[in-house]
């Protein structure tokens, strides 16, 4: 099996190499889960304003790579550089502080909580009544920004006090993207953001990612659906068995070629 896959691996010297100003660059990432070698010396990078499509079958290591980049699971070995500086991403908080926002398939929203509260989970703006890291929330700021974000994503008919559970899957995903945009991320990781979405909602998410590119925000877009990734990606990274097996500009490949590679 491994041999068959290896036949498809592009020669490593044909992998796209990071530019001198790469937004994020990882070298030799390793991750073990018990006896499973989930990441095998993976090099990865993303440029500012670049949309990287990350593809691969289930268990290929996509999710592990994403967990490393979002700070959820620190790597066992390897180095991560952001804007040229070596960084440690030990917790989601550290990754977010470095400008890496992750949008999860399940949207990382608390259903019973309002849109305004969800937008600021863990990063609540505080009023002047505070002691150390704790304090009263600045509700006006939260509601104002939530209202503005809702109008950015054409959800003006919803009050920021609406519980997230009343939103459709696509609307929730929009709010998650609005949240990431509000916190001025440099790099957006979208983990299967189009799962369970209607065609219309999917197109909307794809449009957002394109509009972020215009603002210079890079994206890593994970999907099992090549037809969602291919139209918007600048570059495609394919993984199998924990290894990077392809890193190629979209213009140099095709959907059929990639599908054949990863399936």
């Amino acid at each position: 099996m491994a041999e068959i896959l290896r036949e498809h691996v592009l020669p490593k010297d044909r992998f796209v190499q990071p530019g001198p100003n790469a937004l994020i660059r990882c070298v030799g990432l390793e991750k073990w889960y018990g006896g499973v070698h989930a990441l095998v010396s993976v090099d990865f990078h993303a440029e500012s304003g670049e949309i990287v499509g990350l593809v691969g079958d289930n268990g290929a290591g996509k999710s592990t790579l994403i967990k490393v980049l979002s700070g959820a699971h620190p790597p066992d070995a390897g180095k991560i550089y952001i804007d040229g500086d070596e960084v440690q991403l030990r917790t989601p908080k550290e990754a977010m502080a470095r400008g890496i926002e992750t949008i999860y398939q399940y949207t990382a929203m608390v259903p019973a909580m309002s849109i305004a509260r969800n937008m600021f989970i863990g990063r609540e703006p505080l009023s002047r009544f505070k002691i150390g890291p704790f304090g009263l929330m600045d509700r006006r700021t939260m509601v104002d920004h939530a209202t503005r974000s809702l109008s950015n994503i054409d959800l003006t008919e919803r009050s920021p006090d609406t519980p997230v559970e009343e939103l459709s899957g696509g609307q929730r995903q929009s709010v998650a993207i609005a949240r990431a945009m509000y916190f001025k991320s440099k790099l957006l990781i979208l983990d299967e953001p189009t799962n369970h979405l209607s065609v219309k909602e999917t197109n909307k998410v794809l449009d957002y990612v394109l509009s972020l590119k215009e603002q210079g925000i890079g994206s890593i877009f994970i999907s099992h659906n090549m037809h969602h990734i291919f139209p918007i990606a600048d570059r495609i990274v394919a993984m199998a068995r924990g290894e990077k097996i392809a890193d190629i500009m979209k213009s140099d490949t095709s959907i059929d070629e990639l599908t054949e590679l990863i399936v």
Binding site: A112, R117, I121, R123, P133, R139, D161, P163, E166
Partner: protein, 319 residues
């Protein structure tokens, strides 16, 4: 109008408030002695002791965990205080500090075991229910120790007319915890942790620490309430508060707190406590056999949950 109604119905405590209103009206009509000054005093005297426990139990439930050991901690903490003064020669305030330390330790152990071994808090705190009760009995030496007269009883249970000073402590705790729960960032983390733990963790909240804090708060408040009851009775009984954990959970649930976490309100805790106290007292006033009390609380718990879910779904469908 529609919007106001929807906001109102979305409140977790709404059904409990309506039920409390109905129960008070009912008892007032059927039991002439119910709505009197003397009887209000009786009800308000007993309210803070259950209410303080419910604050802790309810907040822990919002964080997505459960504490069955509060009834035992309710007995253990005053036992520590009384024994420390009476037998170990502590001064009253050091003894109280020692008692609260014991409460915090129980909460810490509850949380540490639950979160480290990833087992249901139902199991951990069920075990702790037995262990803490046993400790209280062992400490007592098998019979209630003499109650030391130097303990500062007046600060906690002085008769202030319509209520005891314990009410002021209850109101104080309720205000601080209510503001924390509903208006502070820490409160937001508690709701997020119980509402969708993965989301809370992915957004950078240390959910383990949030839950630990709630476990410790819950035990502390249970111990504090037990101390008040003991000071009122002037006797530390190893059997104090047996079955109280279920009453506290019932009060929180009746007040609209979801067993699954993430939903609840401070007003709900208070109204839920009020309902239990009013029914307890009202049944006596209406000359109903007092043994029906548990039946009423049981039925009320079930009805409250059904109504809460129904109202919630109705509110969600409104625009």
């Amino acid at each position: 109008m529609q919007r106001i109604l929807k906001t109102l119905l979305s409140r977790p405590e709404i059904t409990a408030i309506i039920m409390l209103g109905l129960v008070i009206i009912g008892f007032t009509l059927y039991a002439p002695q119910f709505a009197t000054y003397a009887n209000s005093r009786v009800m308000l005297f007993a309210l803070p002791e259950l209410g303080i426990i419910v604050l802790g139990v309810g907040i822990l439930m919002i964080a997505g965990e459960f504490d069955l050991s509060v009834g035992s901690v309710f007995a253990l903490v005053p036992m520590v205080i009384v024994v420390a003064v009476g037998r170990w020669g502590f001064d009253p305030y050091s003894a109280m500090a020692l008692g609260f330390l014991a409460a915090l330790a129980v909460g810490y152990v509850n949380g540490w075991i639950t979160l480290t071994f990833n087992i249901p808090s139902f199991v951990t705190t069920l075990g702790m229910l037995f262990m803490a009760r046993s400790l209280a009995t062992v400490l007592s030496g098998g019979f209630p120790p003499p109650f030391p007269s130097e303990l500062p009883i007046a600060v906690f249970v002085a008769d202030l007319g319509l209520f005891r000073s314990s009410m002021l402590w209850f109101v104080g705790f309720a205000l601080i915890l209510g503001i924390t729960l509903h208006y502070s960032n820490l409160g937001n983390w508690i709701f997020a942790t119980g509402g969708q733990q993965q989301a809370a963790a992915d957004m950078g909240i240390d959910t383990r620490r949030v839950k630990m804090a709630c476990f410790m708060l819950c035990s502390f408040l249970a111990g504090f309430a037990g101390m008040i009851t003991t000071f009122r009775l002037r006797s530390a009984l190893p059997s104090l508060g047996e079955g109280l954990e279920l009453q506290a959970i019932a009060a929180a649930v009746i007040g609209g707190t979801a067993l699954t976490g993430g939903i609840g309100s401070l007003i709900g805790f208070i109204v839920g406590t009020g309902l239990i106290r009013v029914i307890d007292n009202g049944l006596v006033m209406a000359r109903v056999d007092a043994n029906w009390f548990r039946f009423a609380i049981g039925a009320l718990t079930i009805v409250a949950v059904i109504l809460n879910i129904w109202v919630r779904n109705r509110a969600r469908r409104m625009h």
